[in-house]
Amino acid sequence: MLTRLIIHIAYSLQLSPTYQRGKRFFHNLLENPNSVIKPYFDVFMICLVLFNVFLLIRELNTPLTEAELLFEDVLVSVFITEYLLRVWLYRDAHKIILEDYEKATYLGISFSLVQAIKRIITTKLEYMLSPLALIDLLAILPGYRPLRMYRMLQMFRLFKLFRYFNSIKLFSEILASKRFDLYTLATFLGILVFIGSTAIYMFEFPAQNGHIKNLFDAFYFSVVTVATVGYGDISPQTHGGRIVTMALIMSGLGVLSFFVSIIVSAFNDKMTVLRENRVYTEISRYSNFVIICGFGRVGQHIAAQLQKDKLQFVIIDADPTAILFAKQSGYLAIQADASKNQVLCNAGINAGATAVLCTTGNDVINVYITLTSRHLNPSIRIISRVNREENAQKFYQAGANNIIQPFEIAGMVVAEYVGQPVAFEAILGIIREEQQCVMETLCVQADSMLDGQVLGGIDFDQRKLLLIGVISENSLHSRHKNRYTIKNQHFYFNPPDYFELQHGDLLMVMGRDYSIEHFRGLIEKSRLTLRRKR
């Protein structure tokens, strides 16, 4: 009966959106380093800890007031709540129950609730015995009245700061990553201190008129000397003791240098990963962005244009020089091979990216990136640069939506320029938005003032616009002249006044940007008004 009830509760929790939302919220608040709210929570906790330290120091001279004691109780309550929430967040207990239950059902054996609870306790203990969780617990314990006398335990509240500072976390990670080197150094240091302590004790024993009274003094002297601190409270009096001290100082210098070099090299190794993680965190905040694979001349031009348009993008290039240049230009850049699945996944090909641009100067690489991108995201837009004309078809086969052939386009530009330099400069200027005029498309939305309207009824002149044509897939327009087939659409150049617009059509207009924006605003407004009326 109890088992059934617990399984029922476990399933309810699994399916409950409120529970999932709540858990996600606390995960973002306490654990997720990329969440927006965590930094605020961390700052709040840091303030609480620092204020508590202030009280701790104050308590040494003055007894705390009622209000201050109450504050401490509140503080401990916050610490307890945080601790319990962290224990709760560490693995889902209901999932463990369900895993065991489903496994038992599948195998046709009886489900043991006791075993499941044991697994839950083991899992939670795993967390509770981790260093940071132990610090949390030790920070709470002095809140318990009988333990108040152990004031030293309150020092652990200071250690809680480790939780909220990323740099401290990073430092502990670095120490952990260099575990082997540090063990080696510690062993050497241990032997050195042992030899030094024994030697100094032998030479500086009181019987020899020395200052070392016991082995602890000898050990203390050795550590202080190896660390090159040398307080001077104990100093060697004998020739032998001085020789040992000199040897300890020289060895100490070596040990310190070795320690510094280990830490510096570990920091260097970690910094690359850290920088990459920062890029990935930044990307995870983007919602619509472009992935540019290759930061050569073409990639640089695209990035500059996208930056101008205030569009978000990330650059991937294997060349460290290109990445350095991208970073110096203030762009988000990852130094990696863009043809690798993991790299594109990390760059967000399935998490907010709208297009992939393959712009390297190598067709082989571009095809591979195109294929990888299409495999990872069947619906993403892929535009690829093709350097050799004979490879164009391969790019379409690999899944590119559009291809760009630099020399073909440049050849076309030259040919057009030779024949019609003024006309060509005009159209290029419009396309590049370098002139006062721009060319834009306006969508005929359903229920807007344009839907069902004949072109003669729209005074483009009065709106300071020039209608170039209409782009449409609608077969109703097929009777009109000046029809140009483009892929699965038709472009109707200079359509007549009786041309009746249908929703989904695109008007291709030319004019000043504010004229176009004004007209776009009118269309939108009319759509909202008509909807409201209905």
């Binding site: 031009h301 396309i431 472009f491 004019g511």
Partner: protein, 233 residues
């Protein structure tokens, strides 16, 4: 018919030459060595071998006399700069179109006397950006104005005494009369700048002005003939 001298064996040279129709342009490829010339001839273009550093040889192919346009498409910017300087010294009026590899070379080429600088990487970058941000317009223009469709963009200069002289742009009504769209006008008497015709104050046309129109090739030709026919319609 315009005579064009093409220097530099590259994909761009063949792309450009392939797009220029033999009816309107006479093309001559200038190779650095006989092998290069043979390869170009095999593709159906006229080719000669010359040393571009030698002014006499440049004069020999017609620069300074009957060459109207020069394409400097060498892969090295320094070669293009040298050729541009040499050609400009020989002919002040020849139109020089040069390719640039390093963007820093662009001002040098302009200083050397080039009329138009082509940076294929920049063009490619811009094209990709257009395709990304305004795919509909890029697609339409690629397929019509820059493509193989009949829709073209053209410039028409108003000759002395043409019927268009002193006419206002809003009186033209090219849209209904000729199935053409007047995109812009270059006012040669005023500032030689492009003035786009998108409503607003109509412009008064003068001889020497250039009209930029868009429309089917046949209609452009018909209108051009009308404009160039001096006197009343």
């Amino acid at each position: 018919m315009k005579r064009i001298a093409v220097f530099g064996y590259s994909s761009l040279s063949f792309e450009a030459m392939g797009r220029l129709t033999p009816e309107h342009y006479s093309l001559l490829f200038l190779a650095k060595n006989p092998d290069e010339a043979a390869l170009v001839r095999a593709k159906g273009f006229a080719a000669e071998t010359i040393d571009f550093r030698n002014d006499d040889e440049l004069r020999g192919i017609g620069i300074g006399t009957d060459i109207d346009v020069i394409f400097c498409f060498y892969p090295d910017d320094s070669d293009n700069v040298f050729l541009t300087i040499s050609a400009r010294a020989l002919d002040k009026r020849v139109s020089i179109i040069a390719i640039v590899d390093d963007p820093e070379s662009a001002p040098k080429l302009l200083a050397a006397g080039a009329n138009k600088i082509i940076d294929p990487y920049e063009i490619c970058g811009r094209k990709t950006h257009e395709m990304l941000t305004r795919p509909d317009i890029a697609n339409i223009l690629d397929n019509t104005v820059f493509g193989r469709h009949d829709l073209k963009l053209a410039q028409i200069e108003i000759p002395q005494g043409a019927w268009l002289d002193n006419m206002k742009t809003d009186q033209l009504d090219l849209k209904n009369r000729h199935n053409l769209l007047l995109i812009a006008v270059v006012d040669n008497t005023l500032d030689e700048q492009l003035h786009f015709v998108t409503g607003g104050t109509p412009l008064v046309l003068k001889s020497g002005d250039i009209l930029v129109v868009m429309g089917p090739t046949g209609k452009i030709k018909q209108f051009k003939n009308e404009v160039e026919h001096v006197g009343n319609r």
